[in-house]
Amino acid sequence: MPSYEPWSADRTAQITREHQGLEGPLLPILHALQEEFGYIDEAAEPLIAEALNITRAEVHGVVTFYHDFRQAPAGRHVLKLCRAEACQAAGGDALAARAEARLGVTMGNTTADRRVTLEPIYCLGLCSVSPSAMIDGKVVARLDAKKLDSLLAAVDR
């Protein structure tokens, strides 16, 4: 289970400074912030904007454009099920329905107890050993109902 620091303006400024020398630093900064805090707090946007001399709207535009960037923390565990064609061809639809039913949430949502966030992902490049998933950053392939249930049991904490 990943652990994150609580959001802090000082740390945000520091991370921004560390990446500022890169060519095109915004995405690396956002990735680093998300790695540190688990999401990108709205209050970080004006700080980054000022440091990079761009508008807050530009930063917000980038944060909201990309699927990876979260504007609020995820659940304690994140289960990403591949929903792309190669996994569909290998029984992925039934697995997605099973995960939704077991967790009681639809794709893209977090359980009420904040235990698990269930998300679709469009291709992990494991298409020859499909269906596949990623749980807390770890890849899993050749999923079936039994394997999925054991993943769900593992995040039942």
Partner: protein
């Protein structure tokens, strides 16, 4: 006795099937037995139904076992200690396996064989010979690549040599080489495999590109869904830099070249080259109108070569063996080999590199072994979410850019996804539109609005609402998207939709008249 050399792939497909746990179990079992072993985390050979496929180095060459599960570790280790002895999972010498024996591995020559973390191993297997040749005649590189007939492996199939020449001829204070490793198409994993299994070949290819066009900086834009590839590439770049193969004086020459890995952020459209450049610049991944071409005004407005991983990874062997050698493979205007990725509902999925010209039927039935569900194949999608669905009636189509285009399909990045007869093609058509709607960058109307209307229209057809009329609307909409969109996302989404409608009208409850459209 020297330590037993055991290979446990570190490729993400093998890891997803348990390779990490097996590597740990092998190491601890060997320690308990007091046997000296050395574990190499190689890439994958591409026989993915056998993953995790372990190998042991013996006097008779490497002997493979797979698919190995945790419960098999002790007995497989016994067999390995017995000089690659018998076991129910014994595959034998990998190169002798029909799946590998019938391939022509040029781009993937070293993948699965070498230790991806070792520059020495890379050099021992012919690595950096391409760069050495390139340095003897730097001004001849572009011509050599042009002569080879290499076309962009990302999907568009644009001649690589022409792209390079345009950048080489451009005058600028700074130029860039950008590697598109945003391999978002479902059914494709060749870029991932080469980055995880033979990262130095990509570094060498990009270095040669830099020398050819006068660029000193390169970026590899890797999608965030590939954490293993990001880690391996980053490490390889550090190793190459420390060894003097990157930096101010590449391999002791007067050429400078530096590389940096950048991580994507989950936007499919960033696989489109101009959107990728925007993303690298730190902006929303919104597609740019062309012209200007990236070759004239690319990254940060500077002349930029932007190529797919496979195109760049093929450059070293072309420089090493010569354009004529490479060009000798293939058919028509599709020269060389294509690393084809077999995926979905197949018995033998994996990577199959072969000269252009092999038929779709051979790939699906003879090599892929048909559906693992044991049911008949109904449809095959070639080229990712923007590729057409072909029925078995078109299995005689040769793998060749032009032959697929002639049948209203495309090769794309050469992913082949197989579906059995339980697939509902109206649902697949709906998915194609839905995917486009979610992933559209929003810049052009045909893609942004067309895809949303497309989902609604397919829904109406599925619900049998004014079916004939709505099929006409869908055809018209697809036409608008195909010819009015700025990039391939909106422009190619009609391929899966129209091919589903054309070849599988029964799934849409439509009249057979649609078959006449073929």
């Amino acid at each position: 006795m020297s330590a037993l050399r055991i290979y446990v792939p570190g490729d993400a497909a093998a890891v997803a099937c348990g390779a990490d746990e097996i590597a740990i179990a092998i190491a601890s079992s060997a320690a308990k037995r007091k046997i000296a072993i050395g574990i190499v985390r190689n890439g994958s050979r591409g026989m993915h139904w056998l993953e995790p496929m372990l190998e042991v180095a013996t006097g008779k060459g490497r002997i493979a076992y797979g698919p190995v599960e945790l419960a098999d570790v002790e007995s497989v280790l016994d067999a390995m200690i017995g000089d690659g002895g018998d076991h129910k999972l014994r595959v034998g010498v990998p190169e002798e396996h029909p799946f590998l024996k019938t391939q022509t591995r040029l781009t993937f020559a070293r993948c699965g064989i070498v230790d991806p973390r070792s520059l020495d191993d890379y050099k021992a297997h012919g690595g950096y010979k391409g760069l050495a040749k390139a340095l003897t005649n730097p001004t001849g590189i572009v011509e050599e690549i042009s002569q080879s007939g290499l076309r962009g492996r990302g999907g568009a199939g644009f001649p690589t040599g022409i792209k390079w020449k345009t950048v080489a001829d451009a005058k600028a204070d700074r130029k860039y080489i950008v590697c598109n490793a945003d391999e978002g198409d479902s059914g494709t994993f060749a870029d991932r495999m080469i980055m995880e299994g033979d990262p130095f070949v990509l570094i060498e290819g990009m270095t040669i590109a830099g020398i050819a066009v006068g660029a000193t900086k390169g970026f590899i834009y890797i999608r965030s869904e590939y954490p293993h590839a990001i880690a391996v590439m980053g490490e390889a770049i550090d190793t190459a830099r420390r060894a003097g193969m990157l930096g101010k004086k590449v391999a002791g020459s007067n050429f400078e070249f530096n590389l940096e890995v950048r991580e994507g952020a989950g936007a499919y459209v960033c696989g489109e080259e101009t959107s990728l450049l925007e993303s690298l610049e730190g902006k929303r991944g919104v597609v740019r109108a062309k012209p200007p071409l990236p070759a004239h005004k690319g990254l940060f407005g500077k002349p930029t070569v932007i190529n797919n991983v496979l195109s760049l990874a093929t450059v070293p062997i072309i420089m090493d063996r010569g354009a004529a050698f490479y060009k000798d493979f293939g058919v028509g205007r599709s020269r060389g080999t294509m690393p084809i990725q077999l995926a979905g509902n197949l018995n033998y999925g994996g990577l199959f590199e072969t000269p252009f010209g092999i038929t779709l039927g051979e790939l699906v039935n003879d090599i892929g072994g048909g559906c693992f569900t044991g049911r008949p194949v109904k449809a095959v999608q070639v080229g990712g979410p923007l590729g057409a669905y072909f029925p078995p009636a078109l299995f005689d189509t040769p793998f060749d850019y032009e032959a697929f285009a002639k049948r209203d399909g495309l090769i794309g990045h050469a992913g082949v996804v197989v579906f059995d007869d339980t697939v509902d093609m109206a649902k697949q058509a709906r998915f194609a539109m839905e995917f486009c709607a979610v992933e559209s960058c929003g810049k052009c109307t045909p893609c942004r609005i067309g895809s949303a209307r497309g989902v609604e229209t397919v829904d109406r057809i599925i619900r049998d609402e004014n079916r004939a009329k709505n099929i006409e609307v869908l055809e018209d909409l697809c036409n608008t998207m195909k010819f009015g969109s700025l990039c391939a996302l909106g422009g190619f989404t009609p391929y899966p939709v129209m091919s589903a409608l054309t070849h599988f009208p029964e799934d849409f409850g439509a009249r057979p008249r649609l078959q006449a459209a073929e």
